[in-house]
């Protein structure tokens, strides 16, 4: 996965001095100045239910730095215009900024070509686009599509719909009790009928970082394209679609500190060029007549209608923000916070963590012996602590672990050890009240 030297660059992370509380390996570094970073996020300084907000629901959506908020204000204050076909001053600016955002995404993903970056509403729309466009053109009766047992509904249902329409079959890679995919079972599922693999990079419920590079390598032996649901990966780790060699990659802007309603589909040019359009409308055409319409070039073929211009520009600002902080440094900080949080919550009697994979992102899904996840979430909410409770749009996974849901704390680089401590006290309080 990530090389150790990439994870901990010398100039950004230094061991912390407070050795009385925990060993230096458990403590986030001093050079990564979390307090300074927190100052960039106005919402982190607000109150919830009369208490200072502790926001641990970053897996659902992340908060926005001032840079992103300012960028949106700037766009609507001085740049708002429709893009691409305008000949006037504002249209020129808006078009340039929108296309600039595409280049920012391209370098964020290390994609090879501009045309491989398609703006969508989010991860879900990106997956639906591929299932609908690539899927209907390339998958027929008797074919098989592989997903994993830890997929978000957004990476299950589009494929189920496709399978129903085409008479294809959905195959599921099982997972073990830790929340790792069983790789041998994956290898067994691959066969001459397999036409597509779509798998989550980082599980939103378990935090598992899947060995996607190996998954892709094995699929490519059979010339099977692979799509990655990167919704949780984008905010947590450096990305490189060329080094992964994935054929499609999807992520959402709002989970990576950008606005809602904007997301990205990356697709290899060779696939995108051959795929039929997903939606018809303005901007995606080259020439329209009632007899025959021809399609615009990539990526516009897949961007019908006026896109979320402000969203794309805001996403560009968000990516610049995290890139400037240094994504490897953010990951190193989050990894340390994850270890600290894992150790801390496991001290609570009756609590267990669902999702103990070898490689994990900073997501901690908890179940308590005596307190229903919803009750736990409600009690934490009363204390100003935001976590997510329920099935996290992964109902098959809940069945797999035979639980009604979990209370999930998902951490960002702006969270602190003090907030983890408050979470632990909050859970203990909830247990006191409910158990």
């Amino acid at each position: 996965m990530i090389e150790a030297k990439e994870r901990v660059p010398e100039h950004t992370i230094e061991p912390e001095v407070e050795r009385d509380q925990a060993g230096p390996s458990l403590t986030p570094g001093r050079t990564f100045d979390v307090e300074r970073v927190r100052a960039d996020f106005p919402i982190l300084h607000t109150m919830a239910r009369g208490k200072p907000l502790i926001y641990l629901d970053n897996g659902a959506t992340t908060q926005k730095p001032q840079a992103v908020i300012d960028r949106l204000v700037q766009y609507y204050t001085g740049e708002n215009s429709n893009i691409h076909r305008g000949v006037h001053y504002l249209s020129e600016i808006a078009t340039r900024e929108y296309e600039e955002a595409r280049l920012t995404v391209k370098s964020f993903l290390n994609a090879a070509h501009d045309g491989e970056i398609i703006f969508t509403r989010g991860t879900t729309e990106a997956i639906n686009l591929v299932a609908s466009s690539y899927g209907r053109a390339s998958i027929s009766a008797g074919d098989e599509i592989i997903i994993s047992a830890m997929e978000h509904h957004g990476n299950i249902v589009p494929w189920q719909l496709l399978c129903e329409q085409q008479g294809a079959k959905l195959r599921v890679i099982p997972i073990d009790d830790n929340g790792d995919i069983i790789f041998d079972e994956y290898l067994k599922l691959l066969n001459e009928r397999t036409r597509f693999v779509s798998i989550v990079y980082i599980s939103n419920t378990l935090g598992t970082i899947n060995p996607v590079k190996r998954v892709i390598e094995e699929a490519h032996r059979y010339n099977i394209p692979v799509m990655l649901d990167g919704a949780q990966a984008a905010p947590h780790m450096p990305l490189d679609v060329q080094s992964l060699d994935c054929d499609f990659f999807a992520f959402s802007g709002h989970k990576v500190y950008g606005p809602t309603g904007i997301g990205v589909l990356y697709g290899k040019e060779k696939y995108l060029a051959a795929m039929p359009p997903y939606q018809g409308g303005g901007d995606m055409i080259e020439h329209v007549s009632f007899e025959k319409t021809t399609w615009n070039a990539l990526p516009y073929k897949f961007e019908a209608g006026t896109p979320n211009i402000a969203g794309a520009i805001g996403l560009g600002a968000a990516i610049r923000y995290v890139t400037e902080l240094g994504i490897p440094a953010l990951k190193a900080y989050e990894d340390q916070l994850l270890r600290y949080a894992t150790d801390a919550v496991l001290q609570i009697d009756g609590l267990r963590i669902i999702g103990t994979a070898r490689e994990k992102a900073s997501i901690v899904s908890m179940v308590h012996r005596d307190v229903h996840p919803h009750d736990l979430g409600a009690a934490l909410d009363q204390q100003g602590i935001a976590v997510r409770t329920g099935h996290h749009c992964t109902q098959p996974l809940m069945s797999r672990f035979d639980i009604p849901g979990t209370a999930r704390a998902s951490f960002s680089f702006y969270n602190t050890r003090e907030e983890v401590d408050a979470l632990v006290r909050g859970i203990q309080k909830a247990v006191q009240v409910f158990a």
């Binding site: 307190v371 229903h372 919803h374 409600a378 009690a379 909410d381 409770t389 329920g390 009240v433 409910f434």
Partner: protein, 162 residues
């Protein structure tokens, strides 16, 4: 409509408002709800099936509501259960307001106003509130059916008051 019936619904509501007014912290409020939930009559395991499942609830809720013949008016009775302790408390509140009441009393009761007074509207998340209203809807639907049986005019009058 008997006076006694009227009292029980109104008195129960007032007692709840008094109790909630006296709480200074969420812990006390929760402890009260948890305690109410513990006193709920149990639901048969067989009744915890898909037919009785109340949709719109984040946690699992099952409800069995049925009419019972009584003079001068039939009443609706219900029992419900949940895997969430907090939701059991909310069920207990609904039972105090609705169970054993006539259709017109059920349809005429201002549940929104009561939840407001209890501060529950503010302290429940949207998801939980939706779940609560799904339960209320189920009870009201049955009450409306009963009222239709009993005399539609009476129910209409009650709904209009709402």
């Amino acid at each position: 409509m008997s006076t006694q019936e009227e009292n029980s619904q109104q008195e129960n509501a007032e007692a709840l408002v008094d109790a909630f007014d006296s709480f200074d912290s969420w812990e006390e409020r929760y402890a009260f709800l948890i305690d109410l939930g513990k006193k709920l009559p149990p639901l048969d395991a067989d009744d915890k099936n898909d037919v009785n499942r109340v949709h719109g609830c984040q946690s699992s809720v099952w409800m069995v509501a049925k009419p019972r013949h009584e003079e001068p008016e039939d009443v609706v009775e219900f029992v419900a259960d949940s895997d969430s302790t907090l939701v059991k408390g909310l069920i207990a509140i609904l039972r105090k307001i609705y169970s054993g009441q006539s259709a017109s009393r059920i349809l005429g009761f201002d549940i929104e106003g009561l939840l407001q007074q209890l501060g529950l509207n503010q302290h429940l998340t949207v998801g939980r509130r939706n779940g609560l209203y799904s339960m209320v809807q189920r009870i009201k639907t049955l009450a409306a059916q009963l009222a239709g049986h009993d005399g539609a005019a009476k129910a209409e009058a009650a709904t209009n008051q709402n």
